[in-house]
């Protein structure tokens, strides 16, 4: 063994013997404070006091919320997705699948697929519908890029392709193989705080979003950027969440609605009122290009 290799070995051993990988410094617990907090958590009697005593503020009757999202800028052309499987179906006749993350209507500048939903309401008007909501896939693309359903409402997950797909709803128990021309029913058992991703693992480019709400106070904007949520309880302040695939919570500059960076605003409706938020301008930077 010569000296150079010896040196190399020592340097190597030195490097290996380092204890810390390049992990960032993680804040540690304050043990004294933890001890005190534990005492309050363990000794207190079951927390009956905190539950259910809050007075529920609400009124009577129902109102409607409506508005329109438009894009303040010119979006780039949608990118073609990398489609490298089952081309006889997924690339039929040279068809190119496009990234649908940002869909802006060229004439009206409306932004499609913005989700608006109530975070919590004291009253709910309509029962959960029994009619299944159809969620279909064709030519290796989910036909609804963003869909909303109520918890417990049947969703008819269909496959209109001549090949098999699996539909995997993140955070749920649903990841089922849907054979060619097959279908199956899914009923969500829990709410989603933000829309959850729906994918097909066989065709990794396939992507959609689903939002499940107990009260059904949720809307997805149409191609022209408009949305309407009817039958909202009047007389109570309702906090709404606005979401877009590109931004998550969509922050807008609307001080009159106290629109926050997390994409939330609060509105109180009167009985029979149709509250139109008007044109909600999404700055170009908010949704990428």
């Amino acid at each position: 063994m010569n000296a150079a290799s010896m040196l190399a070995m020592i340097v190597g051993l030195l490097a290996l013997s380092g204890c810390g990988q390049a992990r960032t410094r993680a804040p540690r617990a304050d043990s004294g404070a933890a001890e005190r907090l534990r005492a309050t958590l363990v000794s207190a009697s079951p927390s009956a006091a905190s539950a259910g005593t809050e007075a529920v503020v609400t009124g009577t009757g129902w109102g409607t919320l409506t508005g329109r999202f438009i894009y303040a800028g010119t979006p780039g052309d949608p990118q073609a997705l990398v489609v490298d499987k089952d081309l006889e179906v997924c690339g039929k006749g040279g068809m190119k699948l496009l990234d649908r993350a940002l869909l802006v209507d060229p004439s009206s500048k409306g932004v499609a697929n913005v989700v608006v939903f109530a975070r919590k309401t004291a009253r709910v008007k309509n029962p959960v519908p029994d009619v299944p909501l159809v969620f279909d896939q064709k030519n290796c693309e989910f036909l609804t890029p963003v869909f909303a359903a109520r918890v417990g409402q049947p969703v008819d997950v269909r496959n209109s392709d001549p090949i098999g797909h699996n539909t995997n709803i993140a955070g749920s128990s649903f990841n089922q193989l849907i054979p060619a021309a097959g279908s199956t029913i899914y009923k969500a058992t829990a709410e989603t705080g933000v829309p959850t991703m729906v994918t097909c693992n066989i065709h990794p480019w396939m992507k959609a979003y689903a939002v499940f709400r107990k009260d059904g106070y949720v809307a997805v904007t149409a191609a022209d950027g408009t949305f309407t949520i009817p039958d909202l309880p009047a007389g109570e302040p309702i906090e709404f969440q606005v979401w877009h695939e590109r931004s998550g919570g969509l922050g807008l500059s609307r001080p009159d609605l106290k629109w926050s960076g997390k994409g939330r605003f609060t509105v109180t409706l009167e009985d029979g009122q149709i509250r139109d938020l008007g044109t909600l301008e999404v700055p170009a930077g908010a949704l990428g290009s």
Partner: protein, 479 residues
């Protein structure tokens, strides 16, 4: 000889031995004719001594009591700078993260002293047996089982990032999201206690997870309880960070009320673990179809027929070929990730995109307020990059299983395969062909899943001419 003299001699020798390149003649002579050391390649012992001293001095230093590490990926991601933030981002986010660490310690204790609030439903006695450093307790029972058997792969926090983890494929399980693959329950449900005990006893074939069947049943039981403890702790941590992200405004702090911490944060986590110990939590097992008897082997006429039916389902309705390939070698769709790795991949992409976008958005005409916001965002994004690099293992894709090998990670009994097919594999891309919940409708009738089981179990011994080979198709034929 004094140290000073020793050192200067060493330096001289180093000069003469290291920095002289041996001539070609010298080295060839040394290598071929004389196996003795020539002066130019003599082992530089003083250098070795210096090296050894240096090695010793780089040691990890003092031993601190073991502590749980915050889930820094979640902690950083959920403390993105908010509008209206008045203080510098780093200190602000660190305060929030430290508060979560403190709350977790109050609810769960430390790795040396796990003290859980009663609402966790965990057995303190079992946890004591599994936790802490390895030692004998007052009655001579061995304690510290987790640190003796598990910690080097799964890590002290149960984050699947112990010292050995980076060298293993697949990576050890990260318990913190509370997601488990091999179990008897519905896809997104927790495993039962018995499911965890089974994995500990059997190990996971085809992975680095060994069997711990040589431990006594109470010891295995204690370890299963400890795995649950680390999961519930990790899920509570995620719930707190998700609350911070979803609910807290810039100037608000996390409530430390019992009503909030126990009822709103902990209870929903614990309820899911309690639910699987109820009677109907496990997936129903269909009766075997007529003629199917696994004990008789694949050549029995009833099984032969069943294997043929299974083969049709495998290539048709079941959709198995899409990923496992027509050859069943696992060579179909192969560039996907499991949930644990996917979370890192997706976050990485998001952060990289956002970083480029934010840098581009920077202009000279920003107002002072905008500039501060912009700076905080950049600071957060680069912190995210560092955390993804240092606090997560490099993501690896999950290849579909090669079914010709006869290795079944979740167990090789027909019942185990049935369960994998029925619900799919939680956390992995593998979809199920059974219903997604009680009362649902599956892609393949439950009884017919047994035919698929029969076919899958026959694949390693498949001599027939289906693939045009007269011997078992093995992976090396392909790669």
């Amino acid at each position: 000889m004094s140290a000073a003299v020793h050192t200067s001699t060493a330096v001289k020798r180093m000069r003469t031995s290291i920095f002289r390149v041996p001539s070609r003649r010298e080295s060839s002579v040394t290598m071929t004719n004389h196996p003795t050391f020539s002066p130019s390649v003599r082992t530089p012992w003083p250098l070795v001594a210096i090296g050894a001293t240096l090695l010793a001095s780089t040691g990890c230093g003092r031993t601190e009591p073991a502590s749980f590490r915050l889930n820094m990926v979640a902690a950083t991601k959920t403390t993105a700078p908010l509008s209206g933030l008045k203080e510098p981002w780093a200190g602000w986010s660190e305060d929030r993260q430290r508060q979560v660490a403190t709350i977790l310690e109050a609810m769960f204790g430390t790795p040396d002293r796990p003290e859980v609030v009663p609402e966790t439903g965990l057995d303190q006695g079992k946890l004591r047996l599994a936790a802490g450093p390895v030692h004998s307790d007052i009655v001579g029972r061995k304690n510290g089982l987790y640190r003796e058997h598990c910690v080097h792969c799964h890590g002290i926090t149960g984050d699947g990032m112990g010292p050995t983890a980076a060298f293993l494929n697949p990576y050890p399980r990260d318990y913190r999201p509370g997601k488990f693959k091999f179990k008897s329950t519905w896809r997104d449900a927790k495993p039962t206690h018995a499911d965890l005990v089974k994995v500990l006893n059997d190990g996971i074939a085809g992975s680095s997870m060994p069997s711990f069947a040589l431990l006594s049943p109470p010891q295995v039981d204690a370890l299963a309880e400890y795995v649950k403890y680390l999961s519930i702790r990790g899920e509570t941590e995620l719930a707190l960070f998700s609350y911070i992200e979803q609910e807290l405004e810039a100037d608000a702090t996390l409530s430390e009320d019992r009503g909030f911490l126990i009822d709103e944060i902990l209870t929903p986590v614990v309820e899911k673990w309690a639910a699987v110990e109820e009677e109907d939590a496990q997936i129903p097992i269909a009766d075997l179809p007529a003629g199917v008897d696994f004990a008789l082997g694949p050549t029995a006429p009833g099984n032969r027929e069943s294997i043929e039916l299974g083969r049709k389902l495998f290539h048709g309705t079941g959709g198995c070929v899409k990923c496992h390939g027509v050859t069943a070698l696992g060579d179909g769709q192969a560039n996907d990730y499991d949930d644990w790795n996917k979370a890192i991949v997706e976050t990485g992409k998001e952060i990289a995109g956002s970083l480029t976008q934010t840098k581009e958005a920077s202009t000279g005409q920003m107002s002072a307020e905008d500039r501060a916001t912009h700076r905080a965002k950049l600071e957060w994004l680069s912190a995210m990059e560092r955390v993804l690099e240092g606090d997560a293992l490099t993501p690896r894709p999950i290849p579909p299983r090669n079914l010709r090998l006869g290795i079944y990670r979740g167990g090789r009994r027909p019942l185990d395969i049935y369960r994998r097919l029925y619900t799919g594999i939680n956390g992995a891309p593998m979809p199920g062909v059974g219903p997604s919940g009680p009362g649902g409708k599956g892609t393949v009738p439950s009884e017919d899943i047994w035919h698929m089981v029969n076919y899958v179990l026959s694949l390693p011994y498949d001599f027939d001419g289906e693939l045009g080979v007269d011997r078992p198709m093995v992976a090396k034929d392909r790669f």
